[in-house]
Symmetry: C2
Subunit: 454 residues, 2 copies
C-alpha cells in the first residue's frame, strides 16, 4: 500500500485535470482502495464553500465501488479530533442541492492548526488522534476545503499518512475570498465577494453622487484583505470602463500609503466630480509598513493582528485635513457570505472543484489541491487541474505589480480582463417571505468509537 | 384662483385616496389649471425614491390637458433656487422604467431647508426666488419626494402659494428608509432597507455560527436609525420565527441601553448557542440619554450630530468585559441603496405614491402628502390616501411601546406581522457583465430665464 502512496508524493508539477476529459489511464482503473469519505471545511467561510461540499457529496455518490459512507467532519480538523462526524448520506438530496446557495460553512469550520513547529508535542498527539479517528471510521478519502493555512494542515495529513503507511487519498479543495492561493488562476469565493463589493460600490456611488452639492463628499468603503489586495482591487469592475465612475481610488495592502498624495487625489476628485469614493483593503500600510487600521493588542488564533479601522482612520484624515464630509462603510463579514448576490460562475466553479477532488482521489491521486485554470479567455472557460499541496501551503500570492496603474490608484486593464469573467451570472436563490432560503442539514451524528480526546 | 386654493387648506383630516377607485367627483372634473410640472427629490436617497419619480413622470404623461412640460429640479429645492431644471420629456421611456430599479436620487437631492425661524431674511429671499422660478417656468404642479424635513419645506411652499394667490398644486411624495413619518402605515424605502438588512443578518449568522468553536463569538451589526429604531427592528424578520436564530439582540434608539443587562444577554446567548448576533441602531443611547456612538464634534447640515460608532463602542465593551471575539459590520450607505435586493412590494408602492400624487394634484388637491394604508392584512393589500402636510412636517414617529418584547431585546409578533409583508417579492434587476444596470438620464437642461440667484 505504501508503494501506491509513494506515487503521489509532491512533484512540484501541475497536472491538467479536465473534468470533461477521459479518466487518467495511469491510475483510474484498478483503484482498489475502498472505504469511507470524510469532507470538512476550514478557515473563514465564503458564499460558495458549501457549493464545493455539495460537489464532493454529489460526486461521491457516483463512486459506490470505492466510497462507502460519506461523512462530514464538524468544525474542520478541530471537530475531527473530537470525533464529531455526521452522516451526509442521511441528508435529503434537496438539502445538498440547496447548499449551492447557502453561505457560511454548513459543516462548521475552525482555525485550528496542527502546529509542528510551535508545539511539536501537541502536534504529535494530534496526529496520533487524527489517525485513530480515521482508522476507527475507515476514512480513506479525505477532502479539506480551505485556504493557505488549511492546505498546510492538509499537506501534513497527507505526508503523515505516507509516513504511517496508512492508505489515504487526501485532496485539497480551494477556498478563499482572498484569492491569494498560488498555482491556481483564482479561488472559489473570490468571484462572489468582488461581485457583491463592486455592486455595493456602484450603489453607494448612486447615493453619494446624488447628495453631492457645493461642498462635495467622500465615502470610504473598507473591504477585507490582509496581505493581498485582490478583494479591494476587484471593486474596479464597478467603474464599467468609465474613468469618472466610482471607485476613484483603491488602496491596496501591496502599496504603502502616501498620505499626502492620497489627500491630493481625494481633493482633486471631489472638486471635479462633487464626490469621491475610496475603497480600502483592511491591511493597508503606511510608509513605515504599519497597518493603518491595526489594533496591535488583538491577535486572532493564528497570531495575526486583528484589523478593523482602516476606513475610519482614513476618514479622520480626510475630514480633518480637507474638511470634506466623509462617511465610512465597513462590510466586514457581510461581504464574504452574500450568497443572495453570488456569482454564478463562482458557484459553478466551486461545485466543480469539489467534483474534481473526488474524481482525482478515486483515480488514486493524493497530496494535491484542485486548481482552476483559464482554458479560454474569450469566451471565458475554465478547467480544473491539480497541484501538489506542498507548493501551496502557506504561500500568499499578491497582485502582480504590472496589473496596477502607474500612479498606483487603480488596477489596470490587465486586472480588469482577469477579474471580469469571474463575476458573471446570477444564480437563482430561492426565497421565502422575501428572504433567502438556506439549506437545513439534519446533521445525523456518527456514533463515536473512541474515548474522548485527551 | 385664491378661492379654489383655500379649499385645500390643511384640515387635519385624512382622505382615502384609492388609486383604483373612481375619480373624486368633488374636484376631478373641471380642473382648469394648466401648466408645467416640477418634481424634485430631497433628503437621503433610498433604493426606491427613483421609482416614485418614475410614477410621477409616467402618470403625468396621462394628463396632457393639465400638464404640459414635465421638469425635474436638480438637487431638490437647492437646485430649483438656482433654476437648475431638466426636461424629463427628453428622457427615453426605457430610462424612466429603469428608474424603478436604480438606487440613489436620479435628479440629485439636497438637505437645504428654507429656514423661517433660524434665518427669516434668507427664507424670505428664498421664497421670492422660488416663486420667480415657478412663475418663469409656469410651474403649476409641484411634487417633492422626501421625509420629515422635506415635507416641512413642501408645506411652506404650499402655504406661500396660497398667501401669494399663486395657483399651485403641491403634493408630497413620502420617502424615508427611517419609516418615521406619521399618518402613513409605512414609508417607501423602508421595506427595501429592512429586507436587505435582514438578509445580511441571516447571511452573517450562517458565517459566524459556522466559525463558533469553544470560545464563542459575537458580531455587532450597526444599521441606520437616529431617533426611531424601525430599521434595526426590521431585522427581526431574519429570525424566521425561530427564537434561536439571529438576531439575538436588537438595540433600539427608543430604549436606553442597560450595559450590564446587555452583557449578561450576550454572555447567555453565546454560551448557549456558541455565537451571538447583535443589531444596533446607530442612535442608541445610554441611561443618561447620550448616544453611545455619537461624535459630538461633528454635525450634519441640519445640525444633528453625526453618529458613527455605536457598534464599535459596543464591541469594545463586549470584547473587553466578556473576552469574547467580537467583530463589527457597519452597513452605512450600503443599506439604503441596495436596489439589487429591493423589496418588490416597496418598489410597487413607491411607484404608486408617485402616481397618486399626480392624480390628486390633477383633481385639484394641494397641501397633502400621499400616505400608504393597509387595505387588508392577509393577504396584504395597500391603498394610497392623502394627509395634510401640516400634520406630517417635522413629526417623528417611533415604534409603539407594545410592539417590543417585555424584556426589551426584540420587537414582538405585532411588529413582525406589521413588517413582514413589506419585504415580499424580488424585482427583476437587469445586469450587464454580472453587475446591476442603472438608468442613465440624458438630463437635457431647461434654458434659464432668470438672472443667477443672488
Amino acid at each position: 500500500m505504501a508503494d501506491s502512496e509513494d506515487q503521489n508524493q509532491p512533484t512540484g508539477e501541475r497536472l491538467i485535470y479536465d473534468l470533461n476529459s477521459a479518466p487518467d489511464p495511469s491510475s483510474g482503473s484498478g483503484n482498489d482502495l475502498v472505504g469511507n469519505l470524510l469532507v470538512a471545511q476550514s478557515g473563514g467561510p465564503t458564499a460558495v464553500i458549501n457549493a464545493s461540499v455539495a460537489g464532493v457529496i454529489q460526486e461521491a455518490g457516483r463512486h459506490l465501488d470505492n466510497i462507502e459512507e460519506i461523512y462530514g467532519g464538524l468544525n474542520g480538523i478541530y471537530g475531527i479530533l473530537h470525533e464529531n462526524l455526521i452522516d451526509l448520506n442521511e441528508e435529503k438530496a434537496r438539502s445538498i442541492e440547496e447548499l449551492k446557495h447557502t453561505p457560511g460553512a454548513a459543516l462548521g469550520t475552525c482555525r485550528y492548526k496542527i502546529q509542528f513547529q510551535k508545539d511539536p508535542e501537541q502536534a504529535a498527539k494530534d496526529m496520533d488522534r487524527l489517525f485513530e479517528v480515521f482508522e476507527a471510521h475507515n476514512i480513506r478519502y479525505f477532502f479539506y476545503a480551505g485556504g493557505n493555512d488549511s492546505q498546510d494542515t492538509n499537506n501534513k495529513v497527507h505526508l503523515e499518512a505516507q509516513k504511517r503507511g496508512y492508505a489515504l487519498r487526501c485532496i485539497g479543495v480551494p477556498k478563499t475570498i482572498d484569492n491569494d492561493l498560488p498555482h491556481t488562476d483564482h479561488t472559489p469565493g473570490f468571484g462572489s465577494v468582488i461581485k457583491y463589493n463592486a455592486t455595493t460600490v456602484m450603489e453607494i456611488a448612486q447615493d453619494v453622487s446624488a447628495m453631492a452639492t457645493d461642498d462635495g463628499s467622500c465615502c470610504i468603503v473598507e473591504v477585507m484583505g490582509r496581505a493581498a489586495g485582490w478583494i479591494a482591487a476587484g471593486t474596479v469592475l464597478a467603474k464599467g470602463g468609465n474613468a469618472d465612475n466610482a471607485p476613484h481610488i483603491i488602496l491596496l495592502p501591496e502599496l504603502p500609503l502616501d498620505e499626502e498624495a492620497f489627500l491630493a487625489k481625494v481633493k482633486e476628485t471631489s472638486e471635479r466630480l462633487g464626490y469621491c469614493i475610496v475603497v480600502v483593503g483592511e491591511g493597508v500600510k503606511n510608509a513605515e509598513g504599519q497597518e493603518i487600521g491595526a489594533d496591535k493588542t488583538k491577535l486572532d488564533s493564528f497570531g495575526h493582528p486583528v484589523l478593523s479601522g482602516a476606513a475610519d482612520a482614513l476618514a479622520e484624515v480626510v475630514q480633518g485635513k480637507l474638511n470634506l464630509k466623509t462617511r465610512t462603510v465597513k462590510l466586514g463579514y457581510a461581504q464574504r457570505c452574500a450568497a443572495h448576490y453570488a456569482s454564478k460562475t463562482d458557484v459553478d466553479e466551486a461545485v466543480a472543484c469539489g467534483t474534481a477532488a473526488v474524481k482525482a482521489a478515486v483515480e488514486g491521486k493524493s497530496g494535491f489541491m484542485v486548481t482552476l485554470e483559464r482554458a479560454s479567455k474569450k469566451p471565458y472557460e475554465f478547467t480544473t487541474c491539480l497541484h501538489t499541496l506542498a507548493d501551496i501551503a502557506l504561500v500568499e500570492r499578491t497582485i502582480p505589480d504590472d496589473w496596477i496603474s502607474e500612479d498606483g490608484w487603480l488596477p489596470n486593464q490587465q486586472f480588469i480582463d482577469y477579474a471580469a469573467p469571474l463575476i458573471e451570472g446570477e444564480p437563482t436563490v430561492p426565497t421565502e417571505g422575501g428572504l433567502p432560503k438556506f439549506a437545513q442539514l439534519n446533521k445525523v451524528v456518527v456514533d463515536k468509537k473512541l474515548p474522548p480526546r485527551a
